[in-house]
Subunit: 338 residues, 2 copies
């Protein structure tokens, strides 16, 4: 899922986004609550109508953002009080309010409000946050009002595999329509993400979608897919684009580099995207050096197409029973290569 | 012609630009010479190939920009020496070099290198610049190497109608494939532009394209068309978009305004553009307040469609012999209205 934090995937129209092969898009409850507010999104007829995206949408719960972006004032059993970085007002976000906001936004999949402990954190803190996340999940289930929205639960547990496993097993008994692994990509070493996913994903029901939140890169996705993960979200394709970088042949290239000034070949001759079909590396280099906004759009188109293409190739390989051989390169730790 | 200064119309892909109804696009010789340089554009196969625009292209000569954007060091009969604002280097631009650059860029229409006097300027200065512009035009004609590019001459003469008329008559004898009226929109009152165009355009051959450079607004275009002008270029649609403004119903609206926050109607319900067909004023207001780049793209699509639509409606009205009645509103000075 490309990330459309503020009800748009940065620099891309929905028409351009669809052409990348994207199916499902993520938007952020926290950001949309602050700006423009869920009442306006609901007034427009819901998030699909507001942002012009006809495909599936998922909203996160705001939990991760409250804990990572805000100045927290107070965490209690009831919820979290924080100061809005948008206008300084004090906001008290509870499981019930998160669900109420997400019901108003109207995405197809909504997420439980969780407590996401930082990394590093001691075992007692993580254990308490994981237990609270479970109690908050029950409150989310009770608060959820719309049968046309699927509520996913989130497995926390930090880097403690036994806490993760206990949480996954508890959640699995609730027969939710889908499950997520949260609280990764919060600063822990990448090899720990693999271990967490390997220990957790197989305990979640295989017939339900399993979603690894905030991941990822080629390698992280391939390795998580090997453990049974189905769904990812990641800002990398569009964020890298806005830094002038492109995914090409599994590498990250800085297109502003002088070596591209007179390179009249496409970014990737094998890529079907609009950018690769119409423009040269020299043109992208020129646009970046001239700080033209179009550069960010063209690179976002390519990067999103490329990352989604990677998952599409994995899907095909799985169906052909060739995943572990064709993607062997991505299934070993980066440090073991070259 | 939408303006694509640095080989792109700001924030728009060529596919989006085509959907606005745009046929011909202008690019700037001065800017492209400085960055990325005409050698790179030529290396890509020319400007059309470089920027992915299959329709007609026009490059200006650099004259206007040298006189308006640069720190001029010296003007002689040979040419103009100036300091590049891009990297500080000293550049000597002559009629021959301007044509050589434009031959390398490869637009369908290229412009003669002219001396554009400032406003205000005394009659002697303007007279000297106009005479020099004519001598430089002859040198441009001699230097021009490509029969597949149409070289247009430019009428100067400031606000002095007799100088304008003498220049127009001299140029008309040269049997060029097209003619432009330059040196307007340089700070003079709008009513003077009308007078200049009324005095000059009818003296240029009616069977050749007549191009009013750097104009315009609805009113300026309608009034110039009434005098026989065929071609315009203007940065307003995309520049206004980047300031969060839209052309709607002949007015300029600031979409960031609070009155649009909960306005779920399209920008213009009668407009066929992608933006009006898919998004509400509330969404555009939200994107602008969130400083999302997509806002500038969506407003550029609408504004360009709207301004080109205006000229298309004029074309239809002319063919139906209804121009002066249907567009009467635009054919009188703004001060005479309401």
């Amino acid at each position: 899922m490309p990330v459309g934090t503020l009800a748009n995937v940065k620099t891309l129209t929905p028409a351009q986004l669809k052409e990348t092969g994207a199916q499902m898009v993520l938007a952020n409850t926290y950001h949309l609550h602050l700006q423009p507010g869920e009442a306006i999104v609901a007034g427009a007829g819901g998030l699909h109508q507001f942002m012009g995206w006809k495909g599936p949408l998922l909203t996160d719960s705001g939990g991760f953002q409250v804990f990572s972006l805000s100045e927290i004032r107070n965490i209690t059993e009831d919820g979290v009080t924080f100061r809005s970085p948008h206008d300084g007002q004090t906001i008290h976000l509870t499981p019930e309010l998160s669900i109420q906001i997400q019901n108003a936004l109207g995405a197809d999949v909504i997420m439980a409000f969780d407590e996401c402990p930082p990394y590093p954190a001691n075992r007692e803190e993580v254990s308490a946050a994981t237990a609270r996340t479970y109690r908050w999940l029950k409150r989310c289930i009770a608060a959820h009002q719309r049968t046309d929205q699927a509520l996913f639960g989130i497995v926390q547990g930090g880097i403690h595999l036994d806490l993760r496993q206990a949480a996954a097993e508890s959640l699995a008994t609730l027969e939710l329509p889908g499950y997520a692994i949260g609280g990764v990509s919060v600063g822990e070493p990448p090899e720990l993400i693999v271990k967490i996913v390997q220990a957790t994903a197989p305990l979640l029901p295989p017939e339900k979608p399993r979603y690894l939140m905030g991941v990822g890169t080629y390698r992280e996705m391939a390795q998580a897919i090997a453990s049974g993960v189905d769904l990812f979200d990641c800002v990398i394709p569009t964020r890298l684009a806005r830094h002038g970088a492109a995914f090409v042949q599994g590498e990250r290239w800085n297109l502003k580099n002088a070596r591209f000034r007179k390179d009249f070949t496409p970014l990737d001759g094998t890529c079907p995207c609009y950018t690769c079909q119409h423009f040269s590396r020299a043109y992208l280099c020129h646009l970046l050096r001239a700080q033209e906004i179009l550069a960010y759009t063209l690179l976002s188109i390519h990067n999103t197409t490329e990352l989604i293409g990677f998952t599409q190739r994995i899907r095909t390989a799985i169906l052909n029973n060739r995943f572990s051989t064709e993607f062997a390169h991505w299934l070993i730790p980066a440090t073991a290569q070259r």
